[in-house]
């Protein structure tokens, strides 16, 4: 039903019509008309953040944990530029978010007006698409189009930039129509011939591996269910990227663990030695492939992706299938049944024997310490304490992120929110805010590092204001751990500016924010402290003091192949021994 209303009213009406329940934002001069509408209604709840980057990451966490589109509302100029990191993060990880930015009035655009910036120009390369609305009669259509573009095809961020005079102007509002978009029609059904060829190749494989990614999770619950069905039908091993964790249950015997730079020995060796690789919703990222010319040299590759530009970008594949994961897997499962496909049981048995030999290396093993908490141990205990709960995990970026990926076992999709492509330190805390807003009764834990968490620490105030009992589980080693690890391994252990001097007292900081602070320094106290953290119904900053110089292994050094991994023990024996001084050795 078409109605006359102001641009600001249209924004709120469009959000309601798009089914948006929560938005994250920060007011300012150029969005005041919209804020004036927001306070006069109750259908869309606004979460006030402390920095616009936090609004963006919260929208990402919200989107990632629900499968819906996340919305951030910010003002012009600095509001928009502060959102850029989150937009780029969402673009890299294919997270659907709609950023609504205020803009100076149209007649001032280009005049270097107060809080003016070229928002569409700045956000053009970090969004799927963006719009500057110059006429109020275009506003409703553009808003609905924004939601369509963000959520269809390969999901991603979009920005709608609305000048203040357009927010005040009156025009005609039309609800979303489902006639379809003028140009943007991503293909969802895979090519049947390619699917048939792929199923044949999969059935004949001697050393197969499934390599899945965030695309499976983006495709939705149906994709996850079909993936599980197909993988179990074949009995083939499966590994996943950082973004894809949870699509396949980590407790399943066919699960090899994460692959890539800090992936497991068995996953990376299976990738290197396989004869058929089935890539589903992943993009052969450089953290996955290692040296591209030595990447899985003997395999034929099948690549299922909704984005044609992902095909043959880094790695040449033999059978590309462009389509939505759920649609393609459905067709594959049907084809598998129709062809009465049988796997080569003898070959598969030998392949699993080989994989078990790799598994026996126990690549994630670490040296336990009775005096100092090992960071791996901290994640293991956190997992043990929360695995039977309704838990969502977010992370920042660095060593703690990799340890979380290695030691926290995910059984379900949408439970793991992390910044994969962009690697944004400071993602986890605001993301946890977004997740908690979407799942108020669930346990939401940000596994954090002491350096990352300080980048967006101010969002604790958001959590307190909105009664969001997020748990910030800091693996505090007083270093930028991953930077320090690289300096140790590659730069002669010259720890240039990676030591976090003058860290705040996190317990006092928690109290200052009006939440709960817990500090643990001994392994023996860890379990009780975690239990307390879970019990508290308020936001918690958990300062877990861990071994300062622990390194994250296994590791594929840059420029090396999958079968040239460094395992923890090997490195300790030679490289580390030479580079670490006496003091360091005591701590490791």
């Amino acid at each position: 039903m078409k109605r006359q209303m102001t641009g600001a009213e249209m924004v709120v009406q469009a959000l309601i019509d798009q089914g948006v329940k929560h938005i994250f934002g920060y007011p300012g001069g150029a969005v005041l008309p919209i804020y004036d509408e927001i306070i006069q209604q109750e259908r869309v709840r606004h979460i006030l953040v402390r920095h616009e980057q936090g609004a963006g990451h919260a929208a990402e966490g919200y989107a990632r944990s629900t499968g819906k589109v996340g919305v951030a509302l910010v003002t012009s100029g600095p509001g928009a530029t502060n959102l850029v990191t989150a937009l780029t993060d969402a673009l890299m990880d294919s997270i659907p978010i709609v950023g609504i930015t205020g803009q100076v009035p149209t007649h001032l655009i280009g005049n270097d007006a107060f809080q003016e910036c070229d928002t569409v120009g700045i956000t053009r390369p970090c969004t799927k698409h963006n719009w500057l609305v110059k006429d109020v009669d275009d506003l409703a259509r553009i808003l609905h189009e924004a939601f369509y573009v963000a959520s269809h095809g390969r999901p991603g961020p979009v920005v709608v930039d609305i000048p203040k005079d357009v927010q005040f102007a009156t025009g005609t509002y039309a609800p979303p129509n489902h006639v379809g978009h003028k140009t943007y029609h991503p293909r969802v059904e895979g090519d049947p011939a390619a699917i048939r060829a792929a199923v044949e190749m999969i059935a004949k494989a001697k050393r197969p591996v499934f390599y899945t990614g965030g695309g499976v999770i983006n495709s939705g619950a149906r994709a996850t269910a079909l993936l599980r069905e197909f993988v179990r039908t074949t009995g083939y091993p499966i590994t996943s990227t950082l973004m894809g964790l949870g699509a396949y249950p980590a407790s399943d015997p066919q699960w090899l663990g994460m692959l890539g730079m800090h992936g497991t020995y068995e996953a990376n060796h299976a990738m290197h030695d396989c004869d058929v690789m089935v890539c589903v919703g992943a993009r052969f990222d450089d953290r996955i492939t290692g040296r591209v010319n030595a990447f899985s040299p003997g395999s034929r590759k099948i690549h299922v992706d909704i984005d044609p530009s992902s095909i043959n970008k880094n790695i040449h594949v033999d059978i590309p299938i462009i389509g939505d994961v759920a649609h393609v897997l459905e067709a594959m499962v049907a084809e598998w049944k129709a062809m009465k496909s049988k796997v080569d049981k003898v070959a598969l048995k030998a392949w699993w024997r080989q994989i078990d030999a790799w598994r026996a290396r126990d690549c994630l093993a670490y040296r336990q310490n009775t005096d100092v908490i090992m960071p791996q141990y901290a994640v293991e205990r956190l997992y043990a304490a929360t695995k039977d709960k309704d838990v969502y995990i977010t992370t920042e970026v660095g060593q703690h992120q990799m340890w979380a990926a290695q030691f926290f076992k995910f059984e379900e999709p949408n439970r793991w929110m992390t910044s994969g492509g962009l690697g944004t330190m400071g993602y986890g805390l605001p993301s946890a805010v977004g997740v908690q807003v979407a799942h108020p009764k669930s346990l939401v834990v940000d596994i954090a590092g002491d350096a990352s968490v300080l980048m967006t620490m101010q969002e604790m105030s958001t959590a307190v204001q909105h009664g969001l009992p997020i748990k910030i589980f800091i693996l505090n080693n007083q270093y930028m751990g991953m930077v320090r690890q690289w300096q140790e391994l590659l730069h002669g252990n010259r720890l240039s500016h990676s030591y976090m001097e003058s860290l705040p007292d996190f317990v006092k900081l928690a109290e200052a924010y009006g939440c709960v602070g817990i500090r643990v320094e001994k392994p023996g106290e860890l379990d009780d402290a975690i239990a307390e953290m879970i019990k508290v119904k308020r936001p918690v900053i958990f300062d877990c003091r861990v071994a300062a110089l622990a390194n994250c292994f296994p590791m594929i050094p840059s420029g090396k192949a999958h079968n040239e991994m460094l395992l923890g023990d090997a490195v300790k024996a030679d490289t580390l021994g030479k580079t670490i001084g006496k003091e360091g050795k005591v701590l490791v």
């Binding site: 053009r124 698409h129 991503p186 030595a294 984005d307």
Partner: protein, 209 residues
Amino acid sequence: MKTTTKTAKRSGARAPTARTKEAVTRRAPRQPPASAYFIEELHDRPERHTLAVIVDNEPGVLARVIGLFSGRGYNIDSLTVSETEHAKHLSRITIVTSGTPMVLAQIRNQLERMVPVHSVTDLTAGGKPLERELALVKVASSGQDRVEALRLADAFRAVVIDATVDHFVFEVTGRTSKIEQFVSILAPLGLIEVCRTGIAAVSRGAETD
């Protein structure tokens, strides 16, 4: 519509120029080749292709296309753009680019997924397209040079569109090589300014792009 994807066919490609040859040698491996991909990549020489991109003529659309090329490190050898269907507000962008077949496929795919892009056609993939350029060439000279310039213009079928006793402005159309030749011949004869449109291209035959 001819929208064939993979352009393994090299018949349409021009011989690599000095610049592209150098690019190939610079990519020499530091380590011995360990897999088929590495070898394959070495054999992939850059090709020059002409793309026709039909887009909505909306603000910023050209910036999006150019931003894609600069952001991802693709080459633009020539770019021509104008609205071609006024009723539908459609513009046609003709881009001459060069890259390996893998990069060319990427360019097509990256362009195709942009929201305001209607279609991307690789004109070179279907054989050599018709390509023309227009140049306006200003020559200021006197005496024998002036006479010679006019005589050459006639040989190149260039038209005089402006003249005083001190100068001529010639309008010349044709393939890029012809324009290049015309400009270089006029250089010693008082050439002072050149403006070129870039390449406009359509495929041969009755089919549309």
